[in-house]
């Protein structure tokens, strides 16, 4: 039997809003033009709750919760921005910058990067934590694409797009914590992958310059993501 979603009413940032019971706080906020920063979330992919950029305060809950994976409830009171939330978000962003080598000025995605845009939007002017400067490889073995792990934020969008939309599941994440790395098949070079269909969805859902098209120079890599919700909708109808 198909689950019937009920209409719930809640308050986000003092505004009375309504949504379906299977909608997340983030979805309802978006429908009501309330901005919540996101990074691993992408419309058309499953919700992952990995990056924690969308954390919000819910009255009565002891901890901050990710808006993308928390469903709305009747009478919920949500605050999407406060000094506390802002500071947490800044720390998360700063830590992302320290973990890999994000050199915007020499990046193919400069000016079109979600990480960079977030830093600008949230006003991340400096990073207090020491940078790790890890030595990360660049996989340029694929005919058309490049994977540069220096710029990866482990959002997992590529993994989800490859699995959920393309159905190839070529990409995955290996390792734990800070040593995690996006891999191709069983940690093979991208060029030798037998499962990759070279569809390029992973490249276009990637928020940074980690996955890019070959031949692009600095600031030339613009991602096209509008295909994703459309593709999903058409498949659901089938």
């Amino acid at each position: 039997m198909k689950k019937v979603s009920q209409i719930q009413t809640l308050i986000i940032d003092g505004k009375e809003v309504g949504g379906k019971s299977d909608e997340s706080i983030l979805q309802v906020a978006k429908e009501n033009d309330i901005f919540i920063p996101t990074l691993c979330y992408l419309e058309g992919l499953s919700d992952y709750g990995g990056c924690r950029m969308c954390i919000v305060e819910v009255k009565g809950m002891p901890r901050l919760v990710p808006a993308c994976t928390t469903l709305i409830r009747e009478g919920m009171e949500v605050t999407t921005n406060s000094e506390k939330i802002h500071n947490y978000r800044l720390s998360i962003l700063a830590l992302l910058f320290t973990e890999r080598n994000h050199i915007c000025s020499a990046c193919v995605s400069n000016g079109h990067c979600e990480l960079q845009t977030l830093a600008l939007k949230l006003g991340l002017t400096h990073v207090e934590f020491p940078y790790i400067f890890p030595k990360m490889p660049v996989d340029a073995t694929h005919d058309r694409f490049i994977a540069d792990h220096n710029r990866c934020v482990l959002c997992g969008r590529c993994v989800r797009a490859c699995h959920e939309v393309e159905g190839a599941h070529t990409k995955d994440i290996m390792g734990r914590g800070i040593t995690s790395r996006v891999i191709t098949d069983l940690k093979e070079s991208w060029g030798s992958s037998k499962t990759c269909t070279s569809c390029g969805k992973c490249v276009h859902v990637c928020p940074t310059g980690a996955l890019t098209e070959k031949g692009k120079s600095v600031a030339e890599m613009e991602k096209r993501r509008q295909f994703l919700p459309y593709l999903k909708l058409m498949r659901e109808r089938r």
Binding site: A106, N110, V138, K214, S217, V218, E220
Partner: protein, 474 residues
């Protein structure tokens, strides 16, 4: 007892340098070392990067001449692609280089060096700077700033950014010139021409006052290197290498820049991070050659634009053979500003300049590529090797200032021997040592200290390492 005098840092140049003078027992300067004290490491850390990123990565070497590095890099990358770039792309890149020459030469002449000419080498260092120039000759200062702005406009209107535009790419450029920006550039040309012609007139009128400096500022026989076009005329973006000897004889001509290694060797000295290239057939360290504005004017057969050609003929009258004094780099720089303004006008009136066919696409077809252009301060080489996936495996760069390294050392020695008397450290001597370095307009890194005074420290050290005298200014 032998002693050392250290000038650290050298001021009003781009970057950080240090000069050490060595004295013999008779208190006479016996040797001089010009050292670049910063390590940048670009040749090493670009390893592993996709070659398509190179034009923008190497741009960050410098805030004054990023365009030169991006052009040299993109030309090296063109070779890796194995393509001949479309002719409009070639022309539009030349136009970009014009913009850079105007702004960089204007910075060198007006902001960095004109205080020496207007206020004097012997004047108080606290007023001998661009602010002093503003007070003494406000129109000249204004003209300098305006000229730099006009050059900057060309770069900005082409690449969307005045410094570090990400516009030059392997295979060409990534956006064509708009009609609107073309008209805006054309509109500024008459003013730029007027400024430079007036400045040339003013400078030529002053030359007599600097007879002593002309005689002692790197005035010695050496070889010269520069790019020339197929007719042997002055060229800054494409062209062939030409070496001449100190008498003006052509010793190597029409050399494809990709063959630079057959002619240029690179040596390293322990005291400096800057390499010392030399002419291979003569060897190290005797194979000194000079690059830069005066060198370019010395090697070429003339200019293909009328006003600059006329000025060039007058410049060549200074001496029978090549103009040997490095002081005349200032003069040559002004003639080059005029030349690039004329070239800019010629390019803007070329119907090709608005063409939209501005980029060639290809995969990696060659594993090695050399790119060479004339940077404002001299010939610049970028040489890359890539793997089959296009990742950089090895890079070699000979920057203009590197080419001049041996000559700068020799020039500093000449000035110090002339102006140093005993152990007396005079302002006049210090500024002339700096002045001769400034004549080469060295770009030691990416710093842009166009204004103000950095702390300058002089130390006299005896042979036991004991400090005899210390003076700090700034």
């Amino acid at each position: 007892m032998s002693r050392e005098l250290v000038i650290d840092p050298v001021t009003r140049i781009e970057g950080h340098g240090k000069v050490t003078l060595f004295f013999d027992d008779k208190n006479e300067v016996k040797d001089a070392q010009f050292a670049v004290t910063q390590f940048r490491g670009f040749e090493k850390f670009v390893e592993g990067r996709p070659f398509t990123e190179m034009p923008s990565i190497v741009e960050r070497i410098c805030g004054i001449c990023p365009v030169s590095h991006s052009l040299a890099a993109s030309k090296a990358c063109d070779s890796i692609l194995g393509v001949r770039i479309p002719s409009p792309a070639k022309k539009i890149r030349q136009l970009l280089n014009c913009g850079e020459f105007i702004q960089s030469h204007a910075l060198s002449f007006f902001h960095l060096s004109s205080p020496d000419f207007l206020i004097g080498f012997d004047s108080d260092p606290s007023i001998r700077n661009i602010v002093g120039v503003v007070n003494k000759n406000p129109q000249l200062a204004k003209n300098g700033i305006r000229l730099r702005q006009i050059g900057g406009h060309i770069v900005e209107w082409l690449g969307k950014k005045r410094v570090h535009p990400a516009w030059v790419v392997p295979g060409g450029v990534n956006e064509c010139l708009s009609e609107e920006h073309k008209d805006m550039m054309l509109k500024e040309i008459p003013e730029a021409k007027e400024i430079i012609l007036n400045t040339l007139k003013l400078f030529k009128g002053m030359i007599e006052d600097f007879r002593k400096e002309i005689r002692t500022f790197g005035n010695f026989p050496s070889m010269f290197l520069g790019l020339v076009d197929a007719e042997g005329n002055w060229e800054i973006t494409d062209g062939y290498l030409r070496f001449i000897d100190s008498k003006g004889n052509i010793v190597a001509d029409m050399i494809e820049p990709s063959k630079y290694k057959e002619f240029i060797g690179e040596s390293v000295e322990e005291f400096s991070y800057l390499k010392s290239p030399y002419y291979k057939k003569i060897g190290y360290p005797e194979g000194i050659y000079r690059v830069g504005p005066a060198a370019r004017l010395n090697v070429c057969n003339g200019f293909s634009t009328p006003l600059a050609d006329k000025e060039w003929a007058e410049f060549k009258e200074l001496e029978r053979g090549p103009v040997l004094s490095s002081f005349h780099n200032h003069y040559a720089r002004l003639i080059e500003i005029l030349a690039v303004i004329e070239l800019e006008e010629k390019l803007l009136n070329d119907p090709d300049i608005l063409d939209t066919h501005i980029r060639a696409y290809a995969d990696v077809n060659e594993y090695e590529g050399v790119g060479c252009v004339e940077a404002p301060r001299g010939t610049l080489f970028h040489h890359y090797k890539v793997d089959k996936y296009g990742l950089i495996e090895w890079a070699n760069m000979i920057v203009a200032t590197g080419n001049n390294n041996l000559a700068i050392n020799k020039s500093v020695l000449q000035v110090a021997q002339h102006y140093m008397t005993g152990t007396e450290i005079t302002e006049a001597m210090i500024n002339r040592v700096e002045g001769v370095i400034r004549a080469y307009d060295p770009c030691l890194s990416c710093s842009t200290h166009a204004i103000g005074m950095m702390p300058l420290k002089f130390t006299l050290i005896d042979s036991d390492g004991k400090i005899i005298k210390e003076i700090t200014r700034g």
